[in-house]
């Protein structure tokens, strides 16, 4: 089974701190994604990556950056955390698939619940 591991289950940070959320997958997947999940809004894509050192903006990239130095690891960075970034963050990975990125199912980690005070 694919395993996507997010380094922290819960995080509490102060406004203005730089925050790193780490994600590792063990199935040699090409694609990796960061979503945030908020009640009533579903999942919104922050950034995704289809290869090492490659990244693409999703729907809500403002205030975030990402890093993918190795194929198995995809990091989400909050440069200066703000209270409106309090949320559940979900990492996911998938195979490249045929015909595009989203034909293959996404495999999700268990999430990191971030609270910014």
């Amino acid at each position: 089974d694919v395993k996507v591991t997010q380094s922290s289950r819960y995080l509490v940070k102060r406004t203005g701190e730089k925050v790193f959320l780490e994600c590792v997958q063990d199935m040699d997947h090409e694609n990796m994604f960061w979503y945030r999940q908020d009640p009533g809004l579903g999942l919104r894509l922050i950034y995704f990556s289809y290869d090492v050192k490659m990244k693409e903006k999703g729907d809500i990239p403002e205030g975030y950056s990402v890093s993918r130095e190795k194929k198995e690891r995809f990091s989400l960075i909050l440069e200066s955390a703000s209270t409106n970034q309090t949320s559940m963050y979900l990492c996911a990975s998938s195979r490249a698939g045929t015909g595009g990125f989203f034909n293959s199912p996404l495999h999700f980690g268990n999430g990191t619940r971030l609270t910014v005070t």
Partner: protein
Amino acid sequence: AQSVAQPEDQVNVAEGNPLTVKCTYSVSGNPYLFWYVQYPNRGLQFLLKYITGDNLVKGSYGFEAEFNKSQTSFHLKKPSALVSDSALYFCAVRDPLTGGGNKLTFGTGTHLQVEL
């Protein structure tokens, strides 16, 4: 632009009864459609997908979904609900004609509560 709607925030059903969780979509071309389930304090798990072919798609845990192009719907169904099916269900869509978008758009989720 692509979008997906889950019109019900919550669905309640008695164990043993059939269940339906509704999803409608809007895309420019032929959609790729997915259902995911989220159990408490867990990430999402893939249930099933429709890419092309037979309109009735079967997935994990006895779930199935029917693609209806004329009604732009992809409702999730199960003939006999279990208490263990209680979870948050997400529908998702991708429009392959959006070119470089490569976005998978999720609905807002439907809480399914199965009661004894």
